[in-house]
Structures are given as C-alpha cells and as structure tokens.
C-alpha cells in the first residue's frame, strides 16, 4: 500500500491540520509516514504545499517525485493546479471551489474550474458552504479531507479517531462539528463519483 498526497492551499488555510489528521491516522494504522511542510516566509498569505507519503514499507524520500502523486488535496482551486506536474496519470484531484483572492491578478474562477474539469479524476466542491452547514464555518479544510478520504488507503474510521484526538482539547462542540464536516465531505464525494 502506498499513498502519495500533495496538500495545497494558501498560508493560514489549515493545511497543516489536514496533514496532522492524516498523520495521526497513519500512525494508528501502523503505516510509515513522511510529511514535508512549509514554514516561514511563504506562509504569510503565500502559496503553501505539503508532501505527505504513507506506505506499509519504509518511505525513503521526503519529497514525492514528479508524476507520481495519487492525490492532490487542495483547499483553494487555483492552488490545486499549481501542483499538476506531480499528479500521476491515474491520480485524483480534490479541491474546494472557493477562491482565496489576495492578489490583484487572480484569474477568472470559471476558467480555473474548466482547467480542473479537464482532468479526468477530479472532485470540486464548495467546502465552505458545507462546513457552514455542519456548524463550523472554519472546517472547510476538513470537508475537503472527507471528500478526499476515499482516495487515501486507510479506513475512514481512523480519520474520525484522529479528529477526536486532534481537536479534543478544544471541546466536544468543535470535535462534533469537524466530524460532521468530515462525513459531509465524504458523502458528497461518494455521490459525485456515482
């Protein structure tokens, strides 16, 4: 088993909590894991990416080679496109449809969505809206994780366990809202693929 995942978005959008959730779940499943993060300057509203590699065998490189990611998981649509050179021919792209506009020349959103639709395996969803409906407007990132969970080779329940662990300190309400967000994302992506 092997899952090579690129996480992408803009600094401050919660990519590192997605990574932490998958990381905890991986440890629960006794998988080997390497996760390269971005710290420092580029986090100030710049683009950020994280390489996450899970496997039942030891993982050598902290970075994913070009053309071999199984999944691009993005909390922002334009950012999902930035990492296409890493995506394998059979890989999936799962992205939020809501743009994060902090640059003057942000491209036309429909054009971006069209580019994404040109990729065979893609899922686009309005994660922010779904998060709001789940009772936690800030859990858009977890909605996307739920939607992408079908392409990560681990039982869904271990992601739920990880969310309980990760958000436990913040109180039961936050845990519940995030679990709801995770499930809502998964349900939509299951429907999307049918």
């Amino acid at each position: 088993m092997k899952s090579d995942i690129i996480l992408s978005g803009v600094g401050g959008q919660g990519i590192l909590s997605i990574a932490a959730t998958i990381g905890l779940a991986a440890v629960d499943n006794n998988l080997y894991l390497k996760q390269a993060e971005v710290h420092g300057m580029s986090q100030r509203g710049g683009d950020v990416q994280s390489h996450l590699r899970l496997s039942d065998k030891p993982v050598a490189s902290d970075l994913i080679p070009f053309g071999s990611a199984d999944l691009i998981l993005s909390v922002e649509p334009m950012e999902s496109l930035r990492y296409l050179p890493w995506l394998s021919k059979t890989g999936w792209l799962v992205t939020n449809s809501n743009p994060f506009i902090n640059i003057p020349d942000y491209p036309d959103v429909d054009e971006i969505l069209n580019e994404i639709k040109a990729i065979k395996n893609h899922i686009i969803l309005d994660a922010d809206l779904i998060a709001k409906e789940s009772g936690s407007a800030r859990s858009g990132n977890i909605v996307i994780l739920g939607a992408a969970s079908a392409f990560i080779d681990m039982p869904f329940s271990s992601l739920e366990v990880a969310i309980r662990k990760l958000f436990g300190r913040k109180g039961q309400d936050i845990v519940d809202a995030n679990l709801k967000a995770l499930n809502a994302g998964r349900k939509l992506s299951d429907a999307y693929r049918k």
């Binding site: 710049g46 490189s61 050179p85």
Partner: protein, 534 residues
C-alpha cells in the same frame, strides 16, 4: 519503546533532551526555529529547568553555549546557515579552545533559498574549524546522531557541527526514542588555561586541533553512519551524502544489488571508504545537498584521472535543492511528469497580514520620502522586508541582519541625503545596536526607523529581547532626545507620522523613530491565551 511523530528539528531537540542537555541557546531563523520552540514547550525540559531562552543573536548564543560547556555540562546551540556567519567568530575559536561538557552546534542550511538570502553550505564551516560534522539522512538518524555527537564532542573535547537542511528540518516522520540519560554535573576544565587563547597557548592548541581532525575520522561513533554497499555494476558508483541518500534510494530501491553506493553522513569524510568505491568503478556520481563539498575534494587541484559526475560537471544542477526527480535524471533514469501547470496560474507572493503595523509605517514613509525620489531606504531582514514587493516597492536593500543601519551610514558618508534605515525591533537587538553606536559617534546624517512589533514576527512570534527597552537602548547609545520619537503606526496617525518622518529626514544628524504596534499574529495569540487562562 516510545515512538513519536516528529519534525527533523523536533527529533534533534528531543534527542538533546534525552542525551542530558542542560542548556539550549538560539536566535530564531527558518528552518532552525522549531528546535528551540520544542525545547521551550517540553514538560521534561521545564521540570529539569533546562536553560532555554532566546539569545540576542547567534554569536551570543554560541558563546553562551560555550560557557555552559566550560562549566562541564551539555549545551546545544541552533541557528540557520547565515546565522553561523554571525556566530563564526565564537564557533571557529571554540574549536581552538575545545570544550569541556559536550557542545553541539546545529546549523540548518536552506538550499533553494525557501526563506533565506543565500544557500551557503555549513559543511565548509566544519572543515574550516576542523571539527567533526554530522549530516543525518533522516529523522531517526538525526535523533540517534545527537547522542553520538555529544559523546564525540566530549571524547575529543571539540565542538561538533550538526548540519541539516530545510527538507529534513521541516519534514515529519516517526522516531523511536532511546532511554534518557541524566545531565552532567558541574565541573571546571582540568587545564585552567584551556579556554585562554593567548597566542602561545593558541599555537599549541592549533597543533592538537590539526592532529585530532585526522584521528576523528576513524572513530566508530562517526564511521558507523557511513557505509559502503557494493554492487555488480563496475561502470558507475555513487556517493550520496545526508538526505541525498534518500532521494537515491527512492530511485534505486533499498534492495539494490547492482549499483555500488557509499553513503556519507559524517565529516571529515572517510577516505578509506571512498577508495573502496573508486577502486571498483570507472565513474563516480556524487549526490550532495548544497555545495559540491565532497565532489571538489575528490577532484583535487589537477582534476584528472577518474571521471567524476556531480554538480561541477552539470550532471546535477549547480544550485538549488535536490529532489527524487533531479536524482533520477542524473542517474539517466526516465523522469515521469504529470501535466504542465496551466498558464492561468498566477504567482502568489507572501504579504503583510491584514492590519499589520509595518504597512502603516511604510505608507507614511512612502509619502514622506516622495519629494526625494527613489533609492533612499535601506532595509533589514524581517516581515517588513516584504515592503520590497508591490504595492509598496519601498525598500532598496536587504543584505544581512543589521545592514540597514550600517549601509545607511555608508551611503550618508557618500553624500546621499536623506539616508533612511528601516529595521525591526528584534533585528535591532540582533545587529542594529552596534551600527547605531557608530552613527552616533560619527554623527552620521541618517534616520533610523525601528518598526517595532514587539516580537520576532517573521519566524512566528518569538520573544524579542528589545520589547519595552528600545527607547532606553537608543538614548543609552547616545541618540539625542530631541531626535528620538515614538509614534504609533495607525491609519488615524498617518498625517502626523508623515510630519515626524519628514522633519527628521531633513535633520543632518542621527534620528531614531520608534514606530510601535504589536504584531497582529502574536497579539491575537496572546489574547486567546489570556482568555483561555482567565
């Protein structure tokens, strides 16, 4: 056995604690910051009362760590690669004095300059100082090596350099911990002159430094991290250093039986193992992160004989970070690629947080300086350096920590007027104060704006040594109270602040304007913590 999921930086910190660390010294700098942060938040470190506060700069950190080692206890100092330049004085001479308690100097290099001004390779400093250098290839190895680094340091009475790169520092993996060992007791050097580098003593010490550099090569503690695995192919052998070894294994597999591979993770590098490899193969490819340190050593002055492939002949790019695809290409393996990035994807440069005080400082400065045109603003290193980018495009230099003040002095000496320096509070205590003293003594015609956010914002909000002290420091250095102003960078004070800046730029002498407003990020975090504790 306890297992933790740790960043490379955190693995190093945890290892130091488990190896009986008594003091950690550092100045924040990406990608090294998390080492100190981990130790600061460690329950174990706080129970043991391990010293762990930030230092004013890397030099003071280095020297304080040396002092702790003098007193017989284990100390670690961490910095980013350019920080080692600042600490170089103390570092090089610590090899001459030698150590008493184990002393590990961690330097985190940043190939590809993810957040740095250059991509220098700290291994050069290891060679320069003639001290043992460890270069781990993964998080677990980093953890193990720290124990050996302390022991090696104590055995040879030398500081040990621990070189990592961004990728290892900021990548997380599971790490299995060892049993912790107790801290060392206080003990003074046996030789009372050991730390006294008077020329006559230094000459003697240098001789012993040179000879121990040879001896250290064959020490099992170092050599166990270097291994040679022979293969059936007699054409090409590979030397892979540190993290480059991972990228190689990614391509050829753990069970490779064909290509002879020598992994190097310690320096001075193992000549005998290199001979083992080169005597078997027709060509050698050197894979190393950073500069061609090993490759150049193999080539020697005349560069004849064996064919050596690497960064110098272009088989591997001369600059930038390695990755599995670059390594594949250098091996002549096919490189996969997904789709190209569509042309509509735009750059997304970092920028000030919404409501950051620095942006108000620059808005006022831009207005005030308009009549003089471009080219008058020297800046420093911190969040405010982002003012180099549009829409501000407001600074004309950013060279190294503290250079804003000193470059402004030189430009003023040349006749440039006004000559304005913009520097942050943390950078000011790091390297700006001495420059300001020069300016006061020479009565330079410069205007120094200290954009004070009460923290080290760029690296995530570490404590700044200057908080609450800036005004006193400047007055103490000798800035005239008439030309020392405190302003608050808020939109409502815009006009007033422009006036102050204008007036002081016209003045022919040293002026300091301290513009204070707390960093939004740390303010938010502080309020959150306060309400959580309330």
């Amino acid at each position: 056995m306890k297992k933790l999921l740790l960043l490379g930086d955190e693995a190093i910190a945890q290892a130091a604690l488990d190896a009986g660390l008594s003091g950690m010294y550092a100045y924040p700098g990406t990608p090294s910051t998390e080492i100190m942060e981990y130790i600061q938040s460690s329950v174990d470190a706080s129970a043991r009362n391990v010293h762990r506060t930030w230092s004013a700069n890397e030099k003071t950190a280095m020297e304080a760590a040396l002092g702790m080692s003098y007193a017989g206890r284990r100390a670690m100092v961490a910095m980013k690669h350019v920080g080692l330049n600042v600490a170089a004085d103390g570092f090089i001479n610590s090899a001459m004095t030698g150590v008493n308690g184990g002393l590990v100097v961690v330097s985190a290099d940043d190939p590809s300059m993810h957040s740095s001004q250059n991509e220098q390779d700290s291994r050069f400093y290891g060679k320069f100082a003639m001290v043992p250098c460890f270069e781990p290839s993964n998080q677990q190895e980093a953890y193990e090596m720290i124990f050996d680094a302390f022991e090696t340091s104590e055995k040879y009475k030398l500081p040990v350099l621990f070189r990592i790169t961004t990728r290892l520092a900021h990548s997380r993996s599971s790490v299995t911990l060892r049993d912790a060992i107790p801290e060392k007791k206080l003990s003074l050097p046996v030789d009372p002159l050991q730390f006294v580098l008077l020329p006559s003593i230094a000459r003697r010490k240098y001789k012993s430094l040179v000879s121990s550099y040879e001896e250290v090569k064959f020490d099992i503690r170092l050599s166990k991290y270097n291994h040679f695995k022979d293969g059936s192919n007699r054409e090409l052998g590979i030397i892979a250093c540190g993290i480059a070894h991972n990228y190689l294994i990614e391509n050829i597999g753990e069970s490779n039986k064909e290509i002879p591979v020598l992994k190097i993770s310690t320096y001075p590098f193992p000549k005998d193992l290199i001979k083992d490899l080169t005597s078997r193969c027709r060509e050698v490819l050197v894979l190393e992160e950073g500069a061609p340190v090993v490759e150049e050593s193999l080539r020697g002055i005349l560069d004849d004989g064996m064919k050596i492939l690497g960064r110098l002949d272009g088989t591997v790019p001369r600059d930038g970070e390695l990755n599995p695809s670059i390594v594949a290409r250098s091996l002549g393996l096919p490189v996969e690629s997904g789709r190209d990035v569509p042309s509509l994807v735009k750059m997304r440069p970092p920028s000030f947080c919404k409501g950051c005080g620095h942006s108000d400082v620059f808005n006022s400065l831009i207005e005030a300086i308009k009549p003089y045109g471009q080219g008058h603003v020297f800046s420093d290193i911190g969040c405010y350096t982002l003012a180099a980018l549009p829409p501000y495009s407001a600074i004309n230099s950013c060279v190294d920590m503290g250079a804003s003040v000193t470059m402004a002095i030189g430009a003023a000496d040349a006749g440039l007027h006004p000559s304005v320096a913009v520097i942050g509070d943390s950078t000011f205590t790091h390297s700006g104060m001495t420059g300001l003293l020069d300016a006061v003594v020479k009565d330079s015609s410069i205007t120094v704006i200290i954009s004070d956010n009460s923290t080290t914002g760029m690296t995530g909000g570490q404590k700044s040594q200057a908080t609450g002290r800036l005004e006193q420091i400047c007055l103490g250095i000798g800035v005239s109270p008439d030309h020392m102003h405190l302003i608050t960078p808020l939109r409502k004070n815009h006009e007033e602040n422009i006036e102050v800046i204008k007036r002081e730029m016209e003045y022919r002498g040293v002026s300091v304007i301290i513009a204070s407003r707390e960093c939004i990020q740390t303010a938010t975090k502080r309020k959150k913590d306060e309400s959580a504790n309330a």
